[in-house]
């Protein structure tokens, strides 16, 4: 049964379950509630309250506005779907789909947990995981550029063009900033990277395993630089403030999705927040130990050490551990998302030339120098 028609049915079924589970049970609710969190946190930062009313319909139960994302979704579905005259209809429809798909696709190689029921908690364990992420992420620009172009509107077009150049520019520093990691680890596989961190300390928190050596602490300097450049580039890639030039509303109304309404607009919206989740997941996976959470433990045999929660353990402890690891991963992602939101409501927007200068002259160079720095450290302290 497992090998009927030359297909590994168990693999197919678990992959499908993981895919559907991660998209519909985790990512889409997370997107919705990120929007909610965005609104609440922005409100609190600005001494307001934000949506705090929507609860269960037809009752007086408020639930602090937790029903708001559902209400928003219903609203998006019921709004009139406008297609302006003189747009290129086919591409106008294609663009939102292209904007949504890549961010979800990239999630497939990210290990969001250790093991559960003996299944690795990653949809596709690909050797070149990080490259796959970059490849697919680079496709997300098509959605934006097509949206801008097919809308046949100045604002949209300018937004699309800006977005394209911005994303292409920051892909450089994004790609270069992670090279020190690979110099250190010699691997592109994200599962292996997380495993390494679980064993040897997070890349930014080398506290256990081999982390206590001088080499590891020296390497923390380039890794920290990598982390900063990578995080900022993710901000730019996801068009988040202070890099939201493509949709700078004071200049471009709403940028590339000016002409979109209803569910098509919602797809862009979802795509943007999904990209945020993907970006946060990547940061967590690469620098912050992925699904791993060190638990201080004391046992008479080993003395004080950090215990590893093992999802692969047999029986109930394994299942609980696996669930714990998944929760850890998404907890870290949530914290990062909160950071994204926090930054957005703190910093003003860059001017476009400043943005390009920053990308090409500053981060690109820093990432490049960082590679040499890492290579030097690794060469002298092998």
């Amino acid at each position: 049964m497992n090998d009927f028609l030359g297909i590994d049915w168990f693999f197919l079924a678990t992959s499908l379950a993981k895919t559907l589970g991660i998209i519909f049970l985790v990512v889409l609710p997370m997107v919705s509630y990120t929007v909610y969190a965005e609104r609440r946190i922005s409100a609190l930062i600005q001494d307001r309250l934000g949506p705090n009313r929507t609860g269960i319909p037809f009752t007086n139960i408020h639930m602090e506005g937790l029903g708001q994302p559902i209400a928003d979704a219903v609203k998006f579905l019921l709004k009139e779907d406008l297609t302006p005259a003189h747009v290129n209809t086919f591409y106008f429809w294609l663009a939102p789909c292209l904007a949504m798909a890549p961010s979800l696709l990239t999630l497939s190689v990210i290990p969001f947990g250790s093991w559960l029921f003996g299944v690795p908690m990653v949809i596709a364990n690909v050797n070149i995981g990080i490259l796959f992420v970059f490849a697919i992420a680079s496709l997300s620009v098509y959605g934006i550029v097509l949206a801008g172009w097919s809308s046949n509107s100045k604002y949209s077009f300018l937004g699309g063009v800006r977005s394209t150049s911005q994303m292409i520019s920051y892909e450089l520093s994004l790609g270069l900033s992670v090279i020190p990691l690979f110099l250190l680890l010699g691997k592109l596989n994200l599962v292996d990277i997380v495993d390494y961190q679980a064993r040897n300390g997070w890349l930014l928190l080398p506290l256990w395993g081999e982390g206590l050596t001088l080499r590891r602490w020296l390497l923390l300097i380039p890794l920290l630089i990598s982390f900063v450049v990578f995080t900022i580039s993710i901000f730019a890639e996801t068009n988040r403030l202070p890099f939201d030039l493509p949709e700078a509303e004071t200049e471009l109304v709403a940028g590339y999705h000016t002409e979109y309404s209803s569910m098509k607009f919602a797809l862009f919206f979802l795509g943007e927040y999904a990209a945020m989740i993907t970006g946060s997941s990547l940061i967590v996976t690469l620098f912050l130990g992925g699904w791993h959470l060190p638990i201080p433990w004391w046992s008479s045999g080993a003395g004080f050490h950090f215990a590893l929660v093992d999802g692969a353990a047999p029986g109930i402890p394994g299942i609980l551990g696996g669930l714990f690891n998944i929760a850890t991963f998404f907890g870290k992602v949530a914290v990062l998302l909160a950071f994204f939101i926090w930054v957005r409501w703190t910093l003003p927007r860059f001017r476009y030339d400043q943005l390009m200068r920053l990308g090409w002259i500053f981060f690109f160079e820093i990432a490049l120098v960082n590679i040499f720095l890492t290579a030097g450290i690794l060469f002298y302290l092998p």
Binding site: L44, D47, T346
Partner: protein
């Protein structure tokens, strides 16, 4: 003449920008913290809490017409229509029929419409009115489902305005 705005010379620390960014983040998180702890209280829960009781006496809400004890005060002089900056007021004057009790006033508005979509609540109509017939009351939540509903006609304006005693006694002395 072109004037070049002098840019301040930045120190290295300032040029790094990161301390400034951190300071900004600290400010915003402080606000967030104070809101969460309930130390900041600037927001009013609108439909439950309202400004009504806090409203100062000079508050400029919706313009309304007021009635004297036995007659409508407005004599359709159309000064408010003239002064109204957004041209929200439209009056059709008419003559009071001879049989009426307030015949001596001679003139009254047949129709008096204020388009509340246009109204900017400036209060010039109240200020210009020689008969003290138009007052800005404290109603501010003017809503309607259609444009037509947002035009307050004479009936609605008197409903909102109510009766006011005293002030103008000039017409009582008329023959």
């Amino acid at each position: 003449m072109a004037y070049t705005v002098p840019r301040p010379k930045l120190t290295f620390r300032e040029k790094l920008y990161l301390p400034a960014v951190a300071a900004g983040l600290a400010i915003t998180i402080k606000h967030l913290k104070n809101m969460l702890l309930g130390r900041t209280k600037v927001v009013m829960q609108y439909p439950e809490e309202k400004w009504d009781s806090h409203m100062p006496p000079h508050y400029r809400g919706a313009p309304t017409l007021v009635r004297d004890d036995d007659r409508e005060r407005c004599v359709a002089c159309q000064l408010c229509e003239f002064i109204c900056p957004p041209r929200a007021i439209k009056i059709t004057p008419g003559e009071i029929p001879s049989a009426s009790k307030s015949e001596k006033v001679e003139k009254f508005p047949l129709e008096f419409d204020i388009d509340m979509i246009r109204c900017i609540y400036c209060g010039l109509c109240e200020e210009v009115c020689p008969e003290q017939a138009i007052f800005l009351r404290k109603d501010y939540a003017i809503t309607g489902l259609s444009r037509a509903e947002m035009v307050h006609n004479k009936k609605k304006l008197y409903e909102l305005g109510g009766t006011m005693h005293g002030l103008v006694n000039k017409w009582n002395e008329k023959k």
